[in-house]
Amino acid sequence: TEEVTIENGKLKIGFNGTSGLVQWIEQNGTRHQLQQNFFFYESMKGYNFNADNRASGAYIFRPTKNQPTVISEKINLTIYRGKNVHEVHQSFSSWLSQVVRIYDQQESIEFEWLVGPIPIMEWIGKEVITKYTTKIASNGTFYTDSNGRRWMKRKRNQRSSWNLTLTEPVASNYYPITSSIAIRDAIHQATIITDRPQGGTSIEDGTLELMLHRRLLYDDSQGVSEPLDENQYGEGMVTRGKHILHFNELDKAAKAHRLSALHTAMQPVVTLAPTHMESNEWV
């Protein structure tokens, strides 16, 4: 149960040897709390065939409880330490795993999650999130990008242009993310860069949560007339993707974010082709 660490010359990541979860990040000799875990919100079913209370569905995100349920208390770790990359493979359940990796000399952490098929044997729809927890004193404020161009400042439980009546404490605070979400205080900024648009928020100070996958069982009566179940071959869809996390001093955060977000959104185009040539002929 001893702690597990991986490092790459710039960063060091610590994993709790008992829970298997990310515990801390060390940069320039200073250690900061950084935790990450997966949860799901239970989806509202709606009543009377949606004549009144609306179900969580394709148009609507509506959890039945404000607290998400943790997906696993005990995580298996498999560790790989190579020259170019160090990886920790975490297995949370039969339908959820993640690889936490750092490349040599890189100043960011890659979280590659693999989610699905989401089980529904209890006939409960699930909205799966990943949540990153730090000690950043974000004071109810977080930032989401607007089409990859600029940060939009978000204040928890508030709207900038009208007085919000808070009927949905969780869903009202979820915002569209095109490529990045961040929290900051006077010293540090934590930035998550996504490889696709997602929904996200900061429900408590110091935290960032993003929705990865949903499997819902009731239509939300907004016009689709089909639950968001995506049950190909009778089981749910599987999704796989990446989050890139940067934890920086405030004055370095903007550069780290912009270079990394552009590199993520416009990655090199990779193509392959078989050949009979030997390498020297090819060169």
Binding site: A58, K83, V85, S97, Y233, V269, V270, T271, L272, V283
Partner: protein
Amino acid sequence: NEHVQMLAIAVAQSQHHDAITGTEKQHVSDDYALYLDEGIGETQKVLTAAYRKWFGKEFPEQQYCKMLNISECDVSENNSKFVITLYNPLSRAVTTPVRIPVKYADYKVTGPNGANVPYELVFLPGQIFRLGGRTSNATHELVFIASEVSPLGLVNYHVERINEPEPPPRPTPHNS
């Protein structure tokens, strides 16, 4: 031009709010995915034509590995020699990891100037092998770093499978 046009039409059609947010019936969502896949498929011909302009007409037909999200790639799994080509769309040099699903074997990776490129074989996450519909026999990822791919630049790597020793057993979890 007509190849790019096919993708442009599919992307334009996907600007509909249903395609962006998923607020459409399953069969409509499947159609959007089908059109995008057809459009993306067409652009492989554009890259092949462009690369042949720069590298000569014997440059082979380019293929995407569209199943990388389930760690599957026909070219890298079923050919003992293949070439990986990277095009950097940014106006600055980038250093980027290249990860390609392969069978466990000894490989030789040759970079643009004939230099040997250090690579690693990293085992795939266990859950991958439980995915319904995955027919791949890749068990590892060939990982190497493409250093300083020049702005709007092209670089290719020649990969050769040298021999296929018995793969090691899957690693046991650290804290199982």
